[in-house]
């Protein structure tokens, strides 16, 4: 067998099964789903009416869609900054700062990732409960009269109140990823730096950050993508998009339109919009994050 043929065989053997699987169970259903966006369909009827691009025209005119996109980006930005900063800080703390109890923290911080989303929802609703919640009870300790703020019920605070649990629940995995990355940095690099008299701060900027940049990049991209298409679960659990659509994100609005208001065609169109928004965002982000990755091997 010639080398050329071997190569072709290898490529085919490694690509084709995956691609077949992927096409049949992901691409095909999604293409079919996207096709629904060209129809007026309730989502439960046997009949559909072809309406061309009407659903998309409607989307452009729908003020809730624009609000939802704004909210999506608020969460993307808030989660990315919050998670990356905290996860990096925690990771550095348990590895480079040689803090006591580091292995305990390592176990503990991952726990929200294994807690069922149901518990997270119930729990945080209790935190925010206006009259018996933790937060108001706690704030009341420092205030002249009891605090009764409906955190999830006021348009000014509702989205912020969704952001915290999202960060809280999301941090564990990225933390672990960064811990592993930092532990993978050869110790000799740090020893050399210390001999040169570099303080912790400088070590972080000159060694740690450049060497884990690849993982930070992956984390950011992953957070952005999962937020754009998964943050709606938290929204549904906490506020159902209310009050008055102020916490609606594209995903929750899709759910609302498709399953509560019976416009599956419109919901499918929203799904296509989510896909486009995610693609554009990731594309832009990848350009922004392009920075030479330092290799140390």
């Amino acid at each position: 067998m010639s080398r050329q043929l071997q190569r072709k065989l290898f490529i085919a053997a490694f690509l084709v099964p995956t691609f077949l699987f992927f096409s049949v169970f992901v691409l095909y259903p999604v293409a079919k789903g996207a096709h629904i966006s060209l129809f007026d369909w309730s989502g439960s009827s046997e009949h559909m009416t072809y309406v061309g691009l009407d659903n998309f025209k409607e989307i452009v005119r729908d003020p809730i869609v624009w609000k939802a996109i704004g909210n999506d980006y608020f969460l993307v930005l808030g989660k990315t900054i919050g998670i990356v900063l905290l996860a990096t800080f925690f990771a550095v703390a348990v590895t480079r700062l040689r803090i006591r109890g580091a292995s305990f923290f390592r176990i503990a911080f991952f726990i929200p990732n294994i807690i069922s989303i149901v518990v997270i929802g119930v729990l945080w609703r209790f935190v925010y409960n206006p009259s018996i919640g933790f937060l108001n009870s706690f704030l009341s300790l420092f205030a002249a009269e009891p605090v009764n703020r409906p955190w999830l019920g006021e348009e000014g605070t509702a989205l912020w109140s969704i952001l915290w649990p999202s960060i809280w629940a999301g941090i564990g995995f990225y933390f672990l990823l960064l811990v592993a990355a930092i532990m993978g940095i050869p110790a000799s690099l740090y020893e050399a730096a210390e001999i040169d008299g570099a303080k912790q701060g400088r070590q972080f900027w000159t060694i740690t950050l450049p060497l884990v940049w690849e993982q930070v990049k992956v984390s950011v991209l992953h957070i952005v993508m999962t937020t754009l298409n998964g943050s709606f679960v938290m929204v549904l659990l906490m506020t159902e998009g209310g009050p008055d659509n102020s916490t609606q994100v594209l995903g929750s609005y899709l759910y609302q339109m498709g399953f509560r208001q019976f416009h599956m065609g419109y919901a499918a169109a929203l799904g296509v919009v989510i896909l486009i928004v995610s693609l554009l965002t990731t594309l832009v982000l990848q350009r922004l994050l392009r920075r030479d990755t330092v290799e140390y091997s």
């Binding site: 564990g172 592993a180 210390e194 091997s297």
Partner: protein, 280 residues
């Protein structure tokens, strides 16, 4: 060590870490305490109050008897293990090809996989149901495993593609010169080097599939085939209608316990697995 981090820095860091640890551990404690309370205690006492004696351990026995956790658990293990393994095999092979071989359309194909990561699942949910139905895979754990596998491929290709690319080429080239074929080179040299990437992807996939319940609810409608999250979702819905808070939390704890224990036992291996390929 010449240059210890300053005491102040360590103290502040320790404080912040402790606060965060409290924030993530307290919910577990709260869930546990709530599982031992009856409704009046749960609703009228302060949220942080301890349960009154006698402790209501019967909530645990009640849910254990009412819901088939044993069978949900086995179903979940089966689906998660099968789909995680299948996904890693399928995505590692493709990712490797993308990272080392250029051919016509390879770029396009790669982008197709990447874009698929951003597809909202809900878009394909209903067509997928009919597809599975055509194959006779509705109400079958196998059907669920297949779907989980397929939907996990893009993420694997994304992470592992980057991973293989960052591995040095010299070893492969040396292997080729020694006369090793493509297959042998991949399995004997590249795969072991990619261990940390494989571990990362497997953990993420396993966690996702272990917790997935939207597809589970729609594709499985037979109580004997329920996975854990589907069982929990059903239990939660039923208990909220009956406002049985204590048993609900007991059930949630029972469902969480195996994963929690597993994580505690294997946490070292997981972290070292994540780092393994990176050193040296």
């Amino acid at each position: 060590m010449l240059n210890q981090p300053s005491r102040a820095l360590k103290a502040v860091a320790f404080l912040i870490l402790s606060v965060w640890a409290a924030a993530v551990l307290y919910p577990l404690l709260w869930t546990f305490l709530s599982a031992l309370k009856d409704n009046p205690q749960f609703l009228t006492n302060k949220p942080w109050a301890l349960p009154e004696t006698p402790l209501l351990w019967k909530h645990f026995t009640y849910v254990w008897q009412t819901y088939n956790f044993g069978s949900y658990f086995m179903n979940s293990v089966l689906v998660t293990v099968v789909s995680s393994i299948a996904a890693i095999v399928l995505s590692a092979s493709t990712a490797y090809v993308f990272s080392r071989f250029e051919f016509r359309g390879s770029r396009l194909l790669y982008v197709a996989y990447l874009s698929a990561m951003m597809i909202p699942l809900i878009l394909g949910l209903i067509p997928l149901f009919f597809l599975l139905d055509d194959f006779g895979l509705i109400n079958k754990l196998g059907g669920l495993a297949i779907v989980y596998t397929a939907w996990a491929i893009p993420f694997g290709v994304f992470v592992l593609g980057g991973f293989f690319k960052s591995l040095p080429k010299e070893l492969e080239e040396a292997a080729y010169i020694d006369g090793a074929g493509y297959f042998r080179t991949f399995f004997q040299i590249m795969l072991p080097m990619a261990k940390s990437g494989l571990v990362t992807v497997t953990i993420v996939n396993a966690l996702n599939n272990w917790n997935e319940y939207i597809m589970g609810t729609v594709f499985i409608n037979d109580p004997t085939q329920y996975t854990l999250p589907v069982g929990i979702a059903i239990m939660q819905a039923e208990m909220q209608y009956r406002t049985e808070w204590g048993p609900l939390f007991a059930g949630l704890l029972i469902s969480m316990a195996p994963v929690l224990l597993m994580y505690m036992f294997f946490q070292r291996q997981i972290v070292s697995g994540l780092t393994a390929g990176a050193i040296k």
